[in-house]
């Protein structure tokens, strides 16, 4: 579930407030949004794609909260890792053209 809105990185664009499919955030004028309903987070990670500055971190734990350390997340490369691996940038899509999913259908084990 969502555990971090970095106060240092957030540019208060409110993109996450608009894009969260579960309405987890509350907007605060000229300030970073607050995680108002943390338990409503469905751990879909999509807010991270829409954040233009990698200010958000969704923990992989779907049923429990954990404390996270922003510095550690930066050092381990986990902050913004989903966005980078997908190829999104500045809140805009990218990377579709590099999708190698078709390899999963090469050995005939799976058929659509």
């Amino acid at each position: 579930m969502i555990e971090l809105v970095s106060r240092e990185r957030c540019i208060t664009c409110q993109a996450c407030v608009a894009a969260c499919p579960e309405n987890v955030f509350d907007k605060v004028p000229h300030r970073p949004p607050v995680i108002a309903r943390p338990d409503d987070c469905q751990t879909c990670f999509l807010c991270e794609l829409y954040c233009p500055v990698d200010a958000l971190y969704v923990s992989p734990l779907a049923d429990a909260h954990e404390c996270v350390d922003e510095r550690e997340l930066v050092e381990t490369g986990l902050l913004g890792s989903f966005r980078r691996e997908m190829g999104w940038n500045g809140g805009r899509p990218g990377g579709t053209d590099k999708d190698l999913t078709y390899r999963m259908f090469e050995d005939g084990r799976v058929a659509p």
Binding site: C20, P21, N23, C44, T96, P112
Partner: protein
């Protein structure tokens, strides 16, 4: 009928449209685009955000992309029929894959950046959810569709038994909205009962409840014993990777079983913990998975697990009618039995396409594209026939449970408690993956009492938007659970996703669809002909 009582006493924004589409996942965006292309004025209202809402946005989806008159097309159709347990319809499968083929190619014409396979051919058999829906968001807006994000519908408007629009609330502003429309498309997805299966928590059966309040019929609600495999700690129900997995028990004994991957996990999960390791994927394929579907690995990377080498505990998360089969019964025009009300995607029963088996992944996504397109086209045609005077009709708001209690509201009846109670009847593998008549009847009694409580006392009149929405979600989940359970009681056989321990064999005499519906009185009956859905 009573006249609509305004919500919260706030001034409601009233819009007029030819077609109102509820739900902005794949089915909804194709419905909106197509209705607009046919000249309709369209409003698209999505509970979350068009681009991130729904099961597709959070995942990746396989597509059936097969050209007409090819061996690939014949093989794909044959494969569907072979898995359908006698309930699919070849003509429907053909028309769905043929229509989706056109849509997938249209995406390329619009500049969708498909990847190329090693031979340099554009590969259109898979879509990355966030990219696909973000792209469709742009197309929908360019087409002149008015998009209402964060705007769940709460109830339908009806005029002389014809659907005439809907009302809802904006979750961010708390402001109510109303759209008066000549036709409404329900594309709100299925119901996964807040199981946290990836991307499904917005899918609480809201559109099913709305439609039922207008008198709509369902089909296939018993074909819902469908779960997704996820690492035990996580939401990531990406099932495809387990084709290359070895499952083991606590002591490391390899678990094998005839049937699909979910069955291996389910039969053993009722005995103890189950583990998996993705040890059968070649380095070439591992790279394909990583570079294709990063969200598959997020949970592992962030937990410090190498899923190709280390075994991890797995669980099953319930996927309900999202990757199960049942939903609103529709005819070839995607019309429900209620005039002016259409349905598409996972909100509709997919029996035509997948029979009694899960259409998770490719078949459902392909179905969403085709039925989205057809529902939009036919809703626009219905609106043209109705003419422009529809906005002056006298309408009634038909929402009841959670909105307008029949008795004096009781604050002791809360949405949170009702949701926990309904989850207890539906989510456990021992109740829904494996069904028995006795357990189903016990669930039915309890679910009936939950419904009575919600119907009589659940109210959120002056509550914040989030709580109003939650009360309707609770009501929708109870209603959906009751159709599921009542239908499963009636299907006294094991067929596809209805596994009855007390009737372990398929019964040829029951190779028919089961229709259902009703709110205060739930009903189930066999479809009038072998595959007829709408009654």
């Amino acid at each position: 009928m009573t006249m609509p009582a305004p919500l919260k006493g706030t001034v409601t924004t009233v819009r007029t449209a030819d077609v109102l589409v509820l739900g902005g996942g794949p089915a909804g965006v194709w419905a909106a685009l197509t209705a607009a292309k046919h000249g309709a004025k369209v409003v698209l209202a999505e509970k979350g955000f068009v681009g991130t809402g729904g099961a597709t946005a959070a995942g990746n989806t396989t597509m059936i992309h097969v050209a007409p008159r090819t061996a690939g097309r014949e093989a794909a159709i044959k494969r569907r029929l072979a898995h359908a347990h006698g309930l699919a319809d070849q003509k429907w499968i053909e028309r769905v894959v043929d229509d989706a083929y056109l849509r997938l190619n249209t995406l390329a014409d619009w500049g969708y950046p498909y990847p190329s396979d090693p031979s340099g051919r554009s590969y259109r058999g898979s879509l990355r959810g966030p990219d696909y829906l973000r792209f469709m968001r742009s197309r929908v807006r360019k087409a002149g569709v008015e998009v209402l994000d964060q705007s769940p519908a709460l109830e339908l408007l009806v005029s002389d038994r014809v659907v005439a629009g809907a009302s809802g609330i904006n979750r961010l502003t708390g402001k109510p909205w109303t759209v008066r429309a000549a036709a409404v498309v329900i594309a709100t997805g299925g119901c996964a009962f807040l199981s946290k299966a990836l991307g499904t928590n917005g899918l609480t059966g809201d559109g099913l409840l709305l439609a039922a309040e207008a008198g709509a019929t369902f089909s296939g609600m018993e074909l819902t014993g469908q779960y997704g495999i996820a690492p035990a700690f996580s939401s990531v129900t990406k099932g495809i990777m387990y084709f290359w997995a070895t499952f083991t028990d606590q002591d490391g004994n390899v678990l094998e079983r005839a049937g699909d991957r979910q069955s291996v996990v389910a039969y053993n999960l009722v005995k103890g913990p189950v583990y998996a390791v993705i040890d059968k994927a070649s380095p070439h394929l591992q790279e394909g998975m990583r570079r294709g579907q990063p969200n598959m690995f997020l949970a592992f990377d962030r937990k410090g697990i190498d899923p190709f080498k280390q075994r991890f505990e797995v669980t099953l998360r319930y996927e309900g009618t999202v990757r199960g089969v049942g939903g609103l019964a529709i005819d070839e025009a995607c019309a429900t039995n209620v005039p002016g009300l259409f349905a598409a995607g996972d909100a509709a029963s997919r029996e035509h396409m997948v029979g009694a088996t899960s259409g998770g992944g490719g078949p459902n996504a392909t179905w969403a594209m085709a039925t989205g397109t057809w529902s939009g086209r036919n809703a626009a045609a219905f609106a043209r026939q109705t003419g422009g005077s529809h906005s002056r009709r006298i309408t009634a708001a038909v929402g009841r449970a959670g909105l307008r209690p029949s008795e004096k509201p009781d604050a002791a009846i809360t949405a949170a408690e009702l949701i926990a109670a309904v989850q207890e009847e539906v989510l456990p593998v021992g109740k829904t993956f494996f069904r028995t008549g006795a357990r189903l009847r016990a669930s039915q009694t309890r679910l009936d009492s939950f419904w009575s409580a919600a119907r009589a006392y659940l109210s959120t009149r002056s509550a914040p938007a989030a709580e109003i929405v939650r009360a309707r979600e609770a009501s929708a989940m109870i209603a959906t659970a009751r159709w599921l359970v009542a239908s499963a009681i009636e299907r006294r056989e094991t067929r596809g996703l209805n596994r009855r321990l007390d009737f372990p064999e398929a019964d040829p005499a029951q190779a028919r669809c089961l229709n259902s519906g009703g709110l205060d009185q739930v009903w189930v009956r066999q479809a009038p002909s072998a595959r007829a859905l709408a009654s």
